[in-house]
Symmetry: C2
Subunit: 391 residues, 2 copies
């Protein structure tokens, strides 16, 4: 038995323990019992330091409670379900514009809109929350919301995006981003998990997504580029050379799910060898550890300030993708890479003082000797409690 295989139980125990205390922490501190929904900006001791309700995170929290309720026996409790519905009711009331079907990006504590984004992502997370909660409750309204939103999203993506409100300027280069078809694959997975009979309704869209995602494999399969031309060519400049390792690995996870459903060995290989492994090998910082956020495939200077940050979510996604790939292929190298990410995360997460930290954390490049330094440093390293919503 390989070295890492012996650790499988340790991996499971640690992650299960962290999941339990994270759910406990958020269930205890994040519910806004006066105005509904969840507080998102929680400090380590549970106090609320900002009342803004970011809808990506509200929706994901609903989804998370509902998914745990649906899939794990120990979370199948009336409390967990009530906590999910608590969030969903707030979203039903405030998140979606009645006139356009667009969702807001953020709301104030009372649910009044603060920001709207000209993309489809808030809408995707709304759909996922509603769909998963339908699985838990059987409530028809949640199902209808999810299916209607899918129709609306597909209209924006495939037919006419003018409803998103994006200004088109003469110098804009036509570009397709990996995020859109990848997100649609995730939505199809969600909706067909809710109702397998929906698979045929989305079969054509699924094929379209797979061909779109594949366009991003560039330079003889050596890199996944984030943006390509509509006819699948590399674009000039920084936009064209951008690779987002964590994003590509996440796409690999979604592709592998589809490949397993479709029992397609070519697609499995594309998911594991190209999207997951190529991106992991390119994106892993061999000096300090961790996945870079953005890279330029030619090694030029990325224009994003945050390019070399080690953010928590790409590491979570990489662990999921690598473990999924290992289960598919039983290749020791995949488990080795999983444990590399696992070790990095556990040695850079400051979990000794607070239950919250495991959940939301930005890693630094700083060496380990810094990480046990003092509380001020510690506070500074715990620097973001939410995925920053883009604008």
């Amino acid at each position: 038995m390989g070295e890492q295989k012996k650790r499988l139980q340790e991996f499971l125990d640690k992650i299960r323990r962290d999941l339990d205390r994270t759910i406990e922490f958020w269930s205890k501190y994040s519910l806004d019992k006066e105005h509904g929904g969840y507080f998102i900006c929680l400090a380590n001791d549970g106090h609320v330091y900002d009342e803004t309700k970011y809808t990506w995170l509200e929706s994901r929290q609903v989804w998370m409670y509902a998914r745990l309720y649906n899939e794990l026996e120990r979370f199948k409790t009336p409390e967990i379900l009530a906590t999910a519905e608590h969030g969903a009711q707030f979203l039903l009331m405030h998140m979606k514009r009645k006139d356009t079907g667009k969702c807001y990006l953020s709301l104030n504590r009372e649910g009044l809109p603060v920001k709207e984004q000209r993309t489809i992502y808030s809408e995707c997370f709304y759909l996922m929350a509603m769909s998963e909660l339908h699985r838990a409750t059987g409530n028809q309204q949640y199902r209808d919301e999810a299916i209607d939103m899918m129709k609306q999203i597909l209209h924006w993506v495939l037919v006419d995006d003018s409803g998103l409100g994006r200004k088109k300027l003469a110098g804009n280069m036509p570009a397709d981003t990996l995020a859109v078809p990848m997100m649609l694959l995730c939505l199809i997975e969600q909706l067909t998990t809710m109702d397998p009979d929906l698979a045929s309704s989305y079969a054509d869209t699924e094929q379209w997504c797979l061909s779109q995602v594949t366009k991003h494999v560039q330079r003889d399969g050596s890199v996944i580029l984030e943006n390509v031309s509509p006819d699948g060519k590399e674009l000039p400049g920084c936009q064209g050379r951008l690779t987002v390792p964590g994003h590509a690995i996440e796409a690999g996870w979604f592709l592998l799910q589809r490949a397993q459903k479709l029992k397609d060995p070519t697609l499995k290989s594309l998911a594991i060898d190209k999207f997951i492994l190529t991106s992991f090998n390119r994106g892993w910082d061999t000096k300090y550890g961790g996945l870079f956020y953005f890279l330029d495939v030619d090694g030029e200077s990325p224009v994003q300030l945050e390019w070399d940050m080690k953010l928590w979510w790409p590491h979570n996604e990489a662990m999921i993708a690598l473990l999924m790939a290992y289960i598919e292929r039983r290749d020791a190298d995949l488990l080795e890479k999983f444990s590399t990410v696992f070790n990095y995360c556990y040695s850079h997460v400051h979990s000794r003082n607070a239950a919250a930290r495991v959940c939301f954390h930005v890693f630094d490049n700083q060496k380990n000797e810094d990480s046990n330094d003092n509380d001020t440093q510690d506070l500074h390293q715990h620097r973001n409690s939410s995925r920053r919503p883009g604008t």
Copy 2:
């Protein structure tokens, strides 16, 4: 004579040398002789790695050449003037929308618009470029462009901002940002430097700006907050607690300029003691050195990913402000602080390989032993060649 005072000649020599080679580098590599304007994304060896023309930077480059031509004998050459006009002609042709008077944030190589921002800042930099170039050339068109743009900006700020195209949502908290009155003070300084007779036209606006800027001094004068309510109160949440040390120090520089013109000792003290010194003391990282980009005044986690980055421009601005304050007050402590920033910059700028690096650099928290490591690390530390335009 104090320790730092003995170093004044060293400071001057080093900065002059860097200014000379920086101007030489950009004059050599940044001109787009085919389509006009300047290339902005230059690598260390001078090659262009992206052709996007960010108008903040195009405008500032015009301003910089023109200011050097106007103020420093060794730059008063036909070449420098021609280089400034080369950029200005491109901006006149492509930067401003004929229909609305708004300026674009970025253009493609040919000058077609790529992005437009719903703020006044591109317009401010356009004004500054035109105004300074009028000083150099006497060309009436540049003067007219500057004065017309000032009228337009004041209309947006003081009368009606609907032309900026910002969507107003029910949950938006009325908030005044330090950036707007501070930028207007800078524009008034620019226009009255171009033509001192304009001072009376802008006297009322200047008074309005000074009262607006003063509203941001909060908590018994212990902090400059970036956003306050229209009636000068602290706002709730992260937005209210945000302090941007480099920004406040820059505001101190603009205030001190006005105070010197107005011969106002109270305003001088406000500029030096509150805006410059309070912000410097709060924003300086006593552990690793450098100015933090964003801070929460209560020590909560800032929501901006880049909050603890040490970016090049706040350090430049701090050096200018501290030296200006020292000249005003001849207080050794101010020169001591200047030299602290100077030492930090020179020990974290990787200038041995390339002329470009001094100009555009993002500092890391990493310790000095890393900074002489190897070329890969070096490349990674040189991570951004432009101030990232916000959206």
